[in-house]
Symmetry: C2
Subunit: 497 residues, 2 copies
Amino acid sequence: MIIPACGARVACVSSHYDDEQLVAALRAALSVDRVLDSPFEKVLYAKDASAIAPEDPGVVCLATSTAEVAAAVAIANRFGRSITPRGSGTGLAGGTIPLERAVVITTTKMNRVLEVHEHDGYAWVEPGLLNLDLTRAVSARGVHYAPDPSSQQTCSIGGNVGTNAGGPHCLLHGVTSAHIIAIEVVLPNGEIAVLGDIRGDAAGYDLRGVFVGSEGTMGIATKIAVRLTPNPPAIRTLLADFSTIREASKAVSAIIASGLLPAALEMMDANCIRAVENWAHAGLPLDAGAVLLVELEGVVDVVNDGVADVSRICTAQGAGSVRVAADATERALLWKARKSAFGAIANIKPNYYLHDCVVPRTRLAEIMDEVTRIADEQELIVLNVFHAGDGNLHPLLVYDKREPGVVDRVHEAGRQIIEVCIAAGGMLSGEHGIGLEKRDYMPLVFSAIDLDYQARIRLVFDPDQKWNPGKVLPGGSSCGEALHDASGPVVVAGAWV
Amino acid sequence: MIIPACGARVACVSSHYDDEQLVAALRAALSVDRVLDSPFEKVLYAKDASAIAPEDPGVVCLATSTAEVAAAVAIANRFGRSITPRGSGTGLAGGTIPLERAVVITTTKMNRVLEVHEHDGYAWVEPGLLNLDLTRAVSARGVHYAPDPSSQQTCSIGGNVGTNAGGPHCLLHGVTSAHIIAIEVVLPNGEIAVLGDIRGDAAGYDLRGVFVGSEGTMGIATKIAVRLTPNPPAIRTLLADFSTIREASKAVSAIIASGLLPAALEMMDANCIRAVENWAHAGLPLDAGAVLLVELEGVVDVVNDGVADVSRICTAQGAGSVRVAADATERALLWKARKSAFGAIANIKPNYYLHDCVVPRTRLAEIMDEVTRIADEQELIVLNVFHAGDGNLHPLLVYDKREPGVVDRVHEAGRQIIEVCIAAGGMLSGEHGIGLEKRDYMPLVFSAIDLDYQARIRLVFDPDQKWNPGKVLPGGSSCGEALHDASGPVVVAGAWV
């Protein structure tokens, strides 16, 4: 599956002799117990939360400080080894699977909140801090960290930066990039730099913006200045049930068109409702074809008016009932139902493959029909739970990998779903990143010139192509420099619209 | 003033013989009347709207299509000449002043709206289209282009992209970068590419984000896909007057702290109120120390509640009166007053120098005192009209350049204002860009490593350093490649916090 990123590149197959020296050097710089090299210990770091096959990490470093990360990078560089940065390993696109027996540097032990400046709206944290732990640490001060992936109990801020992660509340607040003010990074050459600035939007070229979402190909974050969002004075949560996905989709469009800006606007289909209700007992309507979970936040009277508006719109679009959470407990229960979908499906089958495409909101219903058709053809069960407000689909294929041939059918269905979404004017990823999973689909959405410049930007940071090799860009697009070593520039006409 | 960007670089001093051949080649590719080479014609393209001294453009090309832009770029490259892209020339940081007798390529004649897709929320336009003309062209379809610089009647979308321009309504909607979906560009080597994607947030590295705000150093935009924002069902505008800037600043903080999200939140000081009222006759209170202009937009009942909340907060913070615009005419009049400040000051003195710094909102009042003190010391009149909601100051120094020594005093005051803002935890620029004006201040806010990587990113696009030379980065920071030609990487410790 792994295509060398560039023809000129020499594949790195390390000898066991090298490995021993490497491990010894890393242990001298870190500590014996935080440099793992036994197969038993390394297996945890061989994969992420996706269904993509694991790869052997050469060695795993559990760093506890910027200095340790820099030391590990310097040592890996000295041994000519590739490096794969890693957070909690909750990624869903294979972004932290270590190819080329890379040195894995994980920041899970760097999980402190360093400084909180709630009045100035930011905090400095370490990258291994879990997303929900950040919000817990600052909530008494009246603020929170807005992006809330479903995995927020287990995913780290550093990993969120790597994938530019989303979450239900990103509809109003924007995805991770909008909440990262500055990042201390150890660059591929071992230098330490701070990208971005806590004093405000930096002028000049936006290095911070380039780094967010770079999936470990441009260095490793060691401290992160996150934006803290004031807790809204009022939050109200509604659950509306519809007999069909089509009706629910129309309600989504009508809510957005009305000028309302919900904080979150999520949809679950019938399969998902049943799986979740069996597990979370949140009182979801088991006979519904789809439910919308809508949250509004802001000043009290403004939010109350919004609740009335959303209720009216949902009813007009055919909602069977609209339930408004009476209190914080009921609200928490509804969100538990939404965010535990991935756990709940374990009751159906032991394995799942979760997709992540963005489609035009106006084509939601039709594409959901297509997704169902594709799953039926491949004899798979599909559940849908997703960010309807911004058209970010998450078809969830459940299966039992012990069933012969099923993994192939899961991959085939995934390929068809991606192609259907892109053909409908959609995009490869809303929030999970590209990783290994979608690398080879990149030419479907980017021109050759665009991919070439992306590769060159990557080379600015990582000229030796050692950082998270094989991720993000398809094979062949990392040869930006080579193109210009030829007699002249390669001209490829750019298509527009 | 101009420091060569890199020691290795050969300054380009073209001969007149070259000039004649260059002009002939450009005229053959474009047309005789759209390639200007007489001093009389070129003088219009020698400066922007700042007080920075003009420079001689080698030749000026008025392109009418992507093909003509690409042809002009290819010819300039063949002659080894620098290129400075230009929009309407309303920039305030010297970003389009042509150094090195650059070939100026202006897109003012490329001003068509190409396609409007209001239901999908975007339009393709040409870069020379004026900002306000875009909104006028789409307003009948119920949408508008949200970023609204004060110069919106005369500034172009291409120029807005170059500087990542702001505007009063960017408080709610975000600055230009949030409204640019994709950009067709002619790259420095003559290739044509589309950065970004109308199908949604592109995965991979964000080339679109790097290009927005690159001030003509990475190529020239030839078509732009802009986001169209639905017109809100309701808009209400309030004017609150206060006896001091300090009171008005506290009201700003209280409004933001309440959880309200105004679309715009602008302040004018006493000098500005008087200058504007004399000109626009909008009924501004001539005895006020400061006024706040607050705009709310959204669903009708939500906005009405917001108006009541803002009125209550302003009154509690000491507002003498709060006036709510009764209708669209009165609203337009208040905005005319705000946006005509720069014209109105012509009644005071013939020249002005407008600054652009961002400061922490909590320190607004104290920094305004400092600005007044600095202006007094330099015996200059200062007016303040600015985006208070996001702490983006615009001290406006008015003067008559025929007065001996005054220009030096204006520059000295400007330097001190910038330093005070940065010392208070502020940033160099909120929306005008860096250009020539603030290039040499960049090391005040960026580390050496950061500037080095910015220079390398620039080199990815413009390896020959021919595009808008001397802009954005300070002298010496464009030598990124040279650093790595040495025996090892240059390690400079990055400071954080």
